[in-house]
């Protein structure tokens, strides 16, 4: 290319950019604007979602008020709607799932990040990420065909025999129920906890481990008292993500929870969750009040998720402050 050509090109170029793409000169501002737009879209979608749920549930909010949250009758025929059994079922199954999945997931993450040989760790991580991508209906089928029969014939009778004095493990063993839903949720959320926690643990600077080892700590001591505390925020983050998934999980829970909107202390009893109720009943719901009640259930689930996430954030903030305040 000779010089005259490039000069001409440059001129053309300038004219063109002045005409159409003058703004691109201020690349940073444009990028800022565009990303700001995308960012605010998220807020907009959230606000619209809440607004729409709030608006569409006006009928039941007016008719039942706060009693909607505290009444436990769900009767579409006589149009009496109370969300308490669904809220209870959602919370119980999610809590059960976290109770099982958190120790399991963090333990596995520690092994993968700190103790396992790199090749083993890489292969296992790949498998775990695969697990996280399995659709929930597959987990539901797994639960129906293997977990539920196992629970009914072996696990629940055994629990009843050994721990039957607790109200948690009483009543007939159907297989389906809170326990089955909690277990399948636990299996579903473990991959999230493992995969994120492992990444967070891996991100802890190598120097910190070396410093701990140099001070005479064993490998486990360095993991337990140096690496884990500095990865605390990230690990908690993984747990909250898992919790959000457990709260909103629909298909697998619907398949095994038993779908009986009653509040029972026993984990063997069938129950119902908010997401399952919506999935079950929305398609065939006729009558404005019925639909409004289902939409208000959606609103309740949304608020429940926000409240629990908010509490979780507070917890993170609390532990972070504690972490930095330590001498």
């Amino acid at each position: 290319m000779d010089i005259t050509k490039t000069v001409e090109e440059e001129k053309l170029n300038r004219r063109a950019s002045r005409r159409f793409l003058a703004r691109l000169r201020y690349g940073d501002q444009v990028a800022h604007l565009i990303t700001l737009l995308f960012g605010s879209l998220i807020v907009l979608i959230t606000v619209l979602l809440v607004l729409e749920l709030y608006r569409s549930s006006a009928l039941t909010r007016e008719k039942f008020g706060w009693a909607f949250l505290f009444s436990s009758t769900w009767d579409p025929v006589f149009e009496k709607f109370g969300a308490l059994p669904f809220i209870y079922g959602t919370l119980v199954t999610s809590a059960l799932a976290l109770l099982i999945a958190v120790p399991l997931g963090i333990g596995a993450a520690i092994f993968l990040a700190e103790l396992a040989p790199p090749r083993v760790s890489d292969i296992l991580t790949f498998v775990i990420e695969l697990l996280a991508a399995v659709p929930s209906v597959i987990y539901g089928l797994l639960a129906i065909f293997t977990l539920v029969p196992l629970l009914r014939s072996t696990v629940e009778p055994a629990l009843q025999y050994w721990l039957g004095f607790l109200p948690l493990f009483q009543g007939p063993a159907y297989g389906v129920g809170f326990l089955a839903a909690g277990l399948i949720l636990a299996i579903m959320i473990v991959p999230f906890i493992v995969s994120i926690s492992r990444d967070v643990l891996k991100a802890v600077p190598r120097e910190m481990r070396e410093a701990a080892l140099a001070l005479g700590a064993t490998r486990w001591e360095s993991t337990w008292s140096v690496v884990l505390p500095s990865a605390r925020a990230g690990i908690l983050g993984s747990i909250f993500l898992a919790m959000a998934r457990a709260l909103g999980e629909t298909m697998a829970v619907t398949m095994v929870i038993g779908n009986d909107p009653k509040i029972s202390a026993s984990l063997f009893a069938p129950g119902a969750s908010i997401a399952a109720a919506i999935a079950n009943e929305f398609t065939e719901a006729t009558g404005d009040l019925y639909i409004s009640a289902l939409i208000e259930l959606g609103l309740v689930l949304f608020l429940l998720t926000i409240i629990l996430n908010g509490l979780a954030r507070l917890l993170v903030l609390g532990t972070q402050r504690k972490g930095t305040a330590q001498p």
Binding site: E9, L12, N13, A16, T73, W74, D75, P76, V77, F78, I144, V148, P149, R152, P172, Y174, G175, V176, T254, M255, G258, N259, D260, P270, A272, A276, A279, N280, E281, F282, T283, E284, A285, T286
Partner: protein, 347 residues
Amino acid sequence: MRVLKRSLGLVLVVLLAAGFVSCSRTPSEGGTTNLNGAGATFPYPIYSKWFDDYHKTHPDIQINYQSIGSGGGIRQVLAGTVDFGATDGPMTDEQLAKSKAKILHFPTVLGAVVPTYNIQGVTQELRFTQKALADIFLGKITKWNDPGLTQANPGVNLPGDQIVVVHRSDGSGTSYVWTDFLSKASPEWKTKVGKGTAVNWPVGLGGKGNEGVAGLIRQTPNSLGYVELIYAVQNKLPYGQVQNSSGSFVKADLASVTAAAAAAANDMPSDFRVSITNADGKGAYPVSSFTWLLVPTSIADSKKRQIIIDFLHWMLTDGQKQAAPLSYAPLPDAVVAKELKAISEIK
């Protein structure tokens, strides 16, 4: 060079935009008329066969059907977003009053719901009295060897185990028919629970879909639930006989279901919104039901109006022959004759 690249990019963008615009237009405006319907899932297999066959003989007509559930079908037809709807339970007066144009119900085929069970050691076909079924689902009969069951089943060694009741957890036409039957069988059920696509079940586990109920029953010893006749036949589930209004025990099959409709045809209301559960007649199976197409009486588009009229004629005559091979009970002749008259109301 850069200019070239840039203008090339511009051209690409323009081309893409043009392509996008042309794609978003309906591709088949050349002669094909599209009709859209939505609603019940129960008759979906026969509806899709009908619409497919109709398209083969009338290549310029394409009828699309989405099986989104009866509730959705009713909602969409009221909102006018579809050309016709379909439902397993008739629309209520309240719903009909909301519609701008009068909506007609056209029975298309018949379905039935059967009690299916899994009792260890029992291979005989069980007989259920109406009272026994209602009491089991009310939670008043809790054991298999209750006199209410043993008296109707002499010679069957029913165990003393707890009955595990299984019902549908999702709203469904199947539940509607079942609870409609129970409401007629027991006054207590009618006042306490009532009929509907979803009700407040006094007892039992909920399974999603026919397959969910069947799965729970297959797995759970001493369980009892209900599924659609077609589902039970296709999956070879054992199902029992139900006592009808004349006191005889009838097993559900195409003949006994059509008999129930024939019995109801005599005093059929002109709008076809009739429940044929517990119908009269010795051979009538008591847990039977029509499934309906919902068609507005005034259709502005004359082309679509004619298509719907032609299709209804075809469905009621040639179409009925396809019902039995798919295990749907065909309509009795008396009902077909009445419906053919009702088509003229569409204007």
